[in-house]
Subunit: 146 residues, 2 copies
């Protein structure tokens, strides 16, 4: 079960930039995400409650930021993300209402594994110069012929 690394596969190369996604997060968007996800923690949706917490204001759900990452992967290639997507990431800093989140990524490794060829991409997720999410996301470039 060896893993080979490649520089190119099917038009994708190490160093390729993925689509860039920008979203300005609003309290309204956070409230909508709370309803959809069922996560109504007052730290997300109650500005009065949030005043008494460490950050002094509401913060977005971490998975909302991850949804922007998913949007980037979907724009790049929906099938390879939905059917062969992987992620290895950490939540590093919170996102506040009014913040503009910038999501981009770069192909760092192309791996040929037993189940197919995968493109691993280093995430760059920032608000200003603050890193929000760090890690790697990947998609399947082609499934093995089995």
């Amino acid at each position: 079960m060896s893993t080979d690394t490649l520089q190119h596969w099917d038009g994708i190369s190490v160093g390729d930039k993925l689509p860039t996604i920008k979203h300005t997060v609003t309290q309204e968007a956070i409230n909508q995400y709370a309803d959809a996800s069922g996560d109504h923690n007052p730290l997300h949706i109650d500005p009065e409650f949030a005043k008494g917490t460490f950050y002094g204001r509401t913060i977005a759900h971490g998975l909302m930021t991850l949804a922007f990452v998913s949007q980037m992967m979907t724009e790049w290639d929906w099938d390879g993300w939905a059917y062969g997507g992987e992620m290895d990431m950490a939540f590093l800093s919170p996102v506040f209402p009014g913040d503009e989140v910038n999501v981009s990524a770069e192909v760092t490794t192309i791996e040929k594994r037993a189940d197919g060829v995968h493109a691993l991409c280093k995430l760059n997720v920032f608000v200003g110069d603050k890193t929000i999410l760090g890690g790697t996301v990947s998609r399947l470039l082609s499934a093995a012929d089995t």
Copy 2:
């Protein structure tokens, strides 16, 4: 920068079971998630379109299932997930409207790193006997005294 592994920390032990979460996914819930996330791919929300695709019916967004994982981690301990959460996972099978998703996990490793003590948990995410998501999620048990 060595990493020590422990069997117990602050009341948490290797082998501990996390809270179990069950959700029956409906088309209505998928539509709501599409609005909140901005991902209106017809494969998720248009049953007529989905008839012509590989699965022949709509499928839930992968991040909706991940939101159930986040709910489990939140019930276990909100702070350590929101401020020190990590994940390393893969999407393995789709979820269809009507499916009951069962989410559970078990502490497999407690790691003392430079930034604090982390609990790594193996995910068990099933519909019936089909694995939906596989991998590891972790939370911070305590930050390093710095």
